[in-house]
Symmetry: C2
Subunit: 349 residues, 2 copies
DNA sequence: GCCCGTCGTCGAAGCGCTTCGACAGTTTGT
DNA sequence: ACAAACTGTCGAAGCGCTTCGACGACGGGC
C-alpha cells in the first residue's frame, strides 16, 4: 500500500487516487462511474474495488464544473407559517423523495426571496431546474423564469405560463365532482365554504378555478347554490355559515374548500345542534388525513400533494433529458365517500 | 463592445470576460469579489461596473472546487407527515432565513435517508455543515457525524453528543416553569398530559427531559402530581384524562405537553362541563400561535422554533469560521400568561 | 488477406474560479 | 536617507472531474 494522500491520514481520495490504485487512467475511472463508454468487466471490477477501498466520492463541485450538471433542483416554497402548512409539507416531502429517487438533491428556497432568489441560484449554476409552488395569477416570477437557462415546473396554474410546465390538481373538476356527488344524493341547495379572502387576494388561482368550476357545475346541474369565502378562526366560520344560511335558507349540504375552517365548522354545527350528515351533508376538499382526523369521517376530495409533487419532479426529469412534456397537467380529482353525506329523499327536493 | 462570448447571444459571462471588460486580470476581479486583498477604489468601480453590465454571477461549482467552500448547509428534517408538522416547518423556515442572511443556502434532506444521506452530501462536498433535527437518544447518525469533515449542529439533545454542538429549548426548565406558575397560583394537584407513547418510543429526548423536570420540580415544590402519555385523537385524550382523574382525584390543573391533544382536550372538557380556567387550569407547551388559536387563550410556554433554528445557524457559522461555540445551548423557556390559569384560594389547598 | 468498424483504454485539454508568490511603487520609521 | 513595510496588481498553478480525439487490438465481411 503506497504512502500516498489517500491512505495517509484524513485526506479525501480523488479520482486520481482511485485510478492509481486500480492501475488505470482517471478517465477510465470516470467512464466506469458514468457508464458512458464500454469498460471491460475486469477493469470495472478493479476500479470499483479501489473506489470502495478508498471510500471515494466524486466532488460535487468539480463534477458540476466539468459536466455543467449539478444534480440539484431548487424547490421554492412559501415558508410563511400562515396557511396550509401540512399541504406544503407534503409537497416538499414528495419532491425531495422523488428527486432522490432520480439521484438529485433539493435546494430549499423561500418564496419571499422572490425573483432575486431564483436568479441567484440559476445564474450561479447551483441547480439544474426549479420547482415553484404557490403561484399567483400574475406571478412576477414567471417572466424571470423564462429567461433562465434552467427549466422550471410550477405547482399551480398562473394566468400566462406559456412555455413553462405546470402541474396541479384540477380544481375545476374537483368542484364539479363535489357537486355531482351531492346532486346524485338528492341535494339541491348547496353552500360553498371557500378559502379565506386572503387567498383570493393573494390571487392564488386554485381558489378561482374551484369557484368557477363550482358555479359552472351548479348551473349545469340546475342547483341552487351560494358561495362565500371564510375568514380563519371560529368567528370567521360562524359569520360565513350564517351568511350562507341567510342567503340560501334550507341548504342541505356544504362543500368546504378550506382546511382550517373544517374543524371549527364541525364544532359549530354540533354546538348548534345540526348533525352531520343527518341534518347537513359535507364534502371537503383537503388531504386525506385531514378528512379522517375529524369527529365525523368526511367524504372528501383529496388534495394529492404527494402525486403532484412526484409528478413535478418527473416533469423536471423529462425536461432535463430533453423528452417531451405536457405543459399543463391537471390531475383528475378523486372523491372518496366516507360518512358525511346522506341521501336525501326526493320528496325533499 | 468586442464581439466576445459575453456580449454575443446567450453565453454566460465568466470571470475572464469581466476581467477583460474591466481591463484587469481575473485575479483582481476575484479580489474585488472577495475583498481578500486591497483593491484601489477606481479599479474596484471599474470591475463592479463590468460585472453589472455583463450580468456576471460566479459559478458555484467552480467556486466550490477552488475554494473548498460551498456556502450550502444541509438541513435534515423528519419529513414524515405524522407529527408536529407546524413546528418542523418553523424550524425549517428559521434555518433557511438565517442561512440566507449569512449568504448560505440550504440543501434539504429527509431523515429517512439516514446515515447514508449525511455521508453522501458530506463526502461529495455538497455542503459545508449540517443541521439535524429530531434526534433520538442514541441516534445512530451521531457516530457517523463525528467522522465527517464538516461540522454539524443538532436541534435536540441526544445522550452522547460529545464534540457536537446542540441547541434546544430547555424542556426540563420548561416543565419546572409550568409547575412553578401553577404552584404560584395555589394549585397543588396537577396532571401532566404528555406526548404520545410513540414519541417516547422514538426516544426523542425532549419528552424525557420534560418529564424529568416535571417530576423533580413536583418533588421540590411538594406537589401532588400524576403524569400520563396521551395517544392522538379524541379517544386517546379521553382515556388520558380519565386516567389522570382516577389516579389523582380532584386535580385542579393540567400541564399539556402535546400540541395535538390540546384541541380535543378542550373540546372534551367543555363537553363534560369543566370550564377553563374556572374549574381547571391549563398550561400548554406549544408554539405561541397554537396557544392563541384555541377557544380559550392558553397560558403557555412557547416552543421557540424560530429562535432555535436561528441559533443553530449562528452556531454553524461560528464553527465554520473557527470561533468557539457552546456545545450545549439550552434556551430558557418563557411562560406567557393568558387566560387559562386561575388563582386558587388557599382554603382549597 | 485487407479494410473497416468496434471495443477498451489513455492522455490532454479544459470547466471557472481562488490563491499564492512576485513585483513595482509608495509610505513609514528612525 | 535607507531599510522595512504596505499597497495594488498580475500571472500561473491548481481544485477534481468530464469528455474528446487518438490509438492499438480484434473480429467480420468480401
Amino acid at each position: 500500500m503506497p504512502n500516498d494522500r489517500a491512505t495517509w491520514g484524513g485526506a479525501v481520495p480523488t479520482i486520481n487516487d482511485v485510478a492509481r490504485a486500480a492501475g488505470v487512467s482517471p478517465s477510465t475511472v470516470s467512464y466506469v462511474l458514468s457508464g458512458r463508454r464500454p469498460i471491460s468487466a475486469e477493469t470495472r471490477a478493479r476500479v470499483q474495488a479501489a473506489i470502495a477501498e478508498l471510500g471515494f466520492h466524486p466532488h460535487a463541485g468539480a463534477r458540476a464544473l466539468a459536466s455543467s450538471k449539478t444534480n440539484v433542483i431548487a424547490l421554492v416554497a412559501p415558508l410563511r407559517v400562515d396557511v396550509n402548512v401540512p399541504v406544503i409539507m407534503q409537497f416538499a416531502t414528495a419532491v425531495v423523495t422523488a428527486a432522490r429517487s432520480h439521484n438529485h438533491d433539493v435546494l430549499l428556497l423561500t418564496k419571499d426571496e422572490g425573483t432575486a432568489g431564483l436568479e441567484r441560484v440559476a445564474h450561479s449554476t447551483m441547480v439544474d431546474a426549479l420547482i415553484l409552488m404557490d403561484l399567483e395569477r400574475d406571478d412576477m416570477r414567471i417572466p424571470s423564469l423564462r429567461r433562465l437557462k434552467q427549466p422550471s415546473v410550477l405547482i399551480g396554474l398562473p394566468a400566462d405560463h406559456t412555455g413553462i410546465a405546470c402541474v396541479d390538481l384540477d380544481f375545476g373538476a374537483a368542484a364539479r365532482a363535489a357537486l355531482e356527488h351531492l346532486a346524485g344524493h338528492g341535494h339541491r341547495r348547496i353552500g360553498l365554504v371557500g378559502p379565506s379572502p386572503a387567498v383570493y387576494r393573494r390571487q392564488t388561482t386554485y381558489a378561482d378555478r374551484f369557484l368557477t368550476g363550482f358555479l359552472d357545475a351548479s348551473a349545469e346541474l340546475d342547483l341552487r347554490t351560494v358561495t362565500h369565502p371564510c375568514e380563519p378562526g371560529t368567528e370567521g366560520v360562524r359569520a360565513c355559515l350564517s351568511d350562507l344560511d341567510t342567503e340560501l335558507p334550507g341548504l342541505t349540504a356544504l362543500v368546504v374548500h378550506n382546511e382550517e375552517a373544517l374543524r371549527p365548522l364541525l364544532d359549530l354545527l354540533q354546538a348548534t345542534g345540526r348533525r352531520v350528515p343527518e341534518d347537513i351533508s359535507i364534502v371537503a376538499v383537503c388531504p386525506r388525513d385531514v378528512a379522517t382526523a375529524m369527529p365525523v369521517n368526511l367524504t372528501s376530495i383529496d388534495i394529492p400533494a404527494h402525486d403532484v409533487g412526484t409528478l413535478a419532479v418527473e416533469t423536471v426529469m423529462r425536461l432535463l433529458d430533453g423528452r417531451r412534456v405536457e405543459y399543463t397537467r391537471l390531475l383528475e380529482p378523486s372523491l372518496v365517500e366516507r360518512d358525511s353525506c346522506r341521501e336525501i329523499s326526493t320528496s325533499h327536493r
